[in-house]
Amino acid sequence: MALLEANNITKTFGGLTAVNDVTLTIDEGRIVSVIGPNGAGKTTFFNILTGIYKPDKGTITFGDKPIAGLKSNDIAALGMRRTFQNIRLFNNMTVLENVLVGMHTHLRVPFWHIIFKLPTVQREERKARERAREHLNYVGLDDKREELAKNLPYGDQRRLEIARALAGEPRLILLDEPTAGMNPNETAAATTLIRRLRDDLQLTVVLIEHDMRLVMAISERITVLDYGTKIAEGDAHTIRTNPRVIEAYLGKGAADAA
């Protein structure tokens, strides 16, 4: 069953067509990658899916709800969460607080309960903290929960972003270059984590990634963008042998040489 359907998405910035008539269907419970050379429009495509940009043309359905044109926070509340290519944590908040912010849409005690400090508030807060620590445990950061996010090492920051996204109890999680800048060990750990997201948590995962080994190893379906257009789609093997993909990455003539 398709969890996310994006049909004929187009987005232009001035004269530049960043995403051109891209159609993408993501089935529930899959790990899907979007790859392409730099500037291919991958992140723009993510930004359209998550509501940061409105598409000029096209429709997006998430679950069975049309979400094109909805506000970013409403889309997040529906259960689509993301991480950012250039890590965007709340730097001066603790690790635990970062995750708690991720749970915002699930915390519902009314304003006046908070003002009068009714018992409901403490109950919810305690539950939220327990839950947040479960998430931190899951990515292996629980022992650092009181540290400020900005003081974490790079790899931990990436994991914290994932924990924060998980805190929203999403159905779909979009990871924008989750292993960028990582060394091979960290990348291996991240790969395991991403696979676990799907296997343990039955999440649907969409990846933007440049590390081809990772992409080929874990994605069940790969979509290739080049200059904003979808040039190929299929499983790892199909993509690896697709001449247009090879051309996009290595230039004309490379396909023949290969």
């Binding site: 926070n73 912010v101 908070i114 400090k117 839950r131 479960e134 445990n137 629980d142 022992d143 998980l166």
Partner: protein, 456 residues
């Protein structure tokens, strides 16, 4: 070379000894008693009394910062603020007035701190909300009502009490009205527009005397109604304290302000530690990331504006009634900047910081500078070569500016920066349910529910 013991270590030792255990309790009890006795035995306005007064107030902060038992803290605070200070105030109204003013600004600083410190929205027209509350009571409780419409009569004095709530609501509404068009702006642009808004309210107050006389223009509104003292009989007859009306009013306003300060602190603290406070902080840190967590940007910012403005509105009502007279210059830009300076001085986003900042600036304004001026004048008369035109009160703005510059260089985070995290680590643990000692063993089951949660 033997390392010299840094002088700080001694200071740190003293601090540790005096912040918990029997020495702390003895120290604070003695401090409270001695400073109170000294204060009460020196009711004359003088430099000595000033110094004692500052020491007296210092205790409040020291006790607050130490880790003595909650009840002990509260007892000391209650003793100092609700018994000694008011009693001293009946001996010397000047110091009670200083305390009341300080309280008013504490509330304003706390309110502005919500907007600027928590949510990171630079508001340079904050005094407008204060003005709205003040003018609302000034207009409705005086003859201005009859000037607006001959059939209307001024509100009776007793209406003051419900009007406090009305001031709160009015502040909230004004905050939302300003917020709606403005909150799509960021940073500098927001600051400029709020600055403009503050001026608009002042100019409105200045010019709304024609064609219908709402505000009496630049002459201001006089003879603003005071609440009636329904408790006067009780105090005089039952308690047997024979206080004049004037003294009763002074005490009344002091306690009213204290009550509002107390409520403001409670509300602000609870909000800060809630999901709402976290959302504010998240927006301050990174708007885009905050939205991606499902935080509705405009609504959350509006809430900050509304909460901040509400206290200012209610305080405005008290202020107008206490001063008996308000005019547009009372609410000028400098006032807004003054409040902002309090927040920055104390430490943005920090509740004790905002309180300390407000008290410090008020003391500087009302006590320290005029006193220094007096001392200088005395010296001059005694023959010291001090130019006659030199008057520290004239240099108030310059001194503030200097103070801020110095702060920015040496302690940009403010005098008492936000220490919530530290406090959480120390204080919260015993209060909470016993935590599972350590659940970080690797076999922990994954979070169970990744099931679609309520979303269809």
């Amino acid at each position: 070379m033997t390392p010299t013991v840094p002088s700080e270590s001694l200071w740190v030792q003293v601090k540790t000894i005096l912040s918990n255990g029997p020495p702390a309790y003895t120290f604070f009890t003695l401090y409270a008693l001695i400073s109170s006795l000294l204060l009460i035995s020196n009711p004359r306005t003088s430099l000595t009394t000033d110094i004692i007064f500052v020491f007296f107030l210092l205790l409040v902060m020291l006790v607050y910062r130490s880790s003595v038992h909650k009840y002990f803290k509260h007892t000391i605070l209650l003793f100092q603020l609700c018994i000694v200070l008011p009693y001293f105030g009946t001996l010397n109204p000047f110091y009670l007035e200083v305390a009341t003013q300080a309280g008013i600004f504490v509330t304003l600083a706390l309110g502005l701190n919500v907007v600027v410190g928590f949510a990171g929205l630079l508001d340079l027209g904050y005094v407008a909300f204060f003005a709205v509350g003040a003018y609302a009571w000034a207009i409705t409780s005086t003859n201005q009502m009859t000037l607006i419409n001959p059939d209307w009569v001024p509100l009776p004095p007793i209406a003051f009490y419900p009007f406090l709530i009305f001031g709160l609501i009015l502040g909230t509404i004004t905050g939302i009205l300003l917020g709606l068009p403005v909150l799509r702006l960021r940073g500098d642009y927001l600051a400029i527009v709020t600055l403009g808004f503050g001026e608009v309210i002042r100019v409105l107050a200045n010019n709304l005397d024609r064609p219908i006389n709402f505000t009496n223009g630049s002459q201001g509104i006089r003879e603003i109604e005071r609440p009636n003292l329904f408790f006067a009989d009780f105090v005089r007859n039952t308690l047997g304290w024979n206080l004049s009306d004037q003294k009763l009013y002074e005490l009344f306003f002091y306690f009213a302000v204290l009550l509002i300060v107390f409520m403001t602190i409670l509300v602000v603290k609870r909000l800060k530690e809630s999901r709402i406070g976290r959302a504010w902080e998240a927006i301050r840190e990174d708007e885009t990331a905050a939205i991606a967590q499902g935080i509705p940007l405009v609504r959350t910012k509006l809430l900050a504006f509304a909460v901040g403005a509400s206290f200012a509105g209610a305080m405005g009502v008290i202020f107008a009634s206490k001063q008996l007279f308000i005019n547009p210059p009372t609410f000028d830009l400098l006032r807004s900047i003054n409040i902002l300076a309090m927040v920055i001085l104390g430490g943005m986003g920090s509740i004790p910081g905002a309180i300390l900042g407000a008290v410090l600036v008020t003391l500087l304004d009302l006590q320290i500078l005029p006193r220094t001026a007096n001392v200088l004048r005395d010296l001059q008369r005694a023959g010291f070569p001090i130019p006659a035109a030199f008057d520290p009160t004239q240099y108030q703005r310059m001194l503030f500016g200097l103070l801020l510059v110095i702060m920015m260089i040496f302690r940009p985070q403010g005098i008492l920066p936000d220490e919530r995290r530290k406090e959480e680590l120390i204080a919260d643990e015993p209060d909470d349910l016993p935590e599972q000692p350590d659940q970080s063993d690797s076999g922990t089951p994954p979070p169970s529910a990744a099931t679609p949660n309520g979303s269809k």
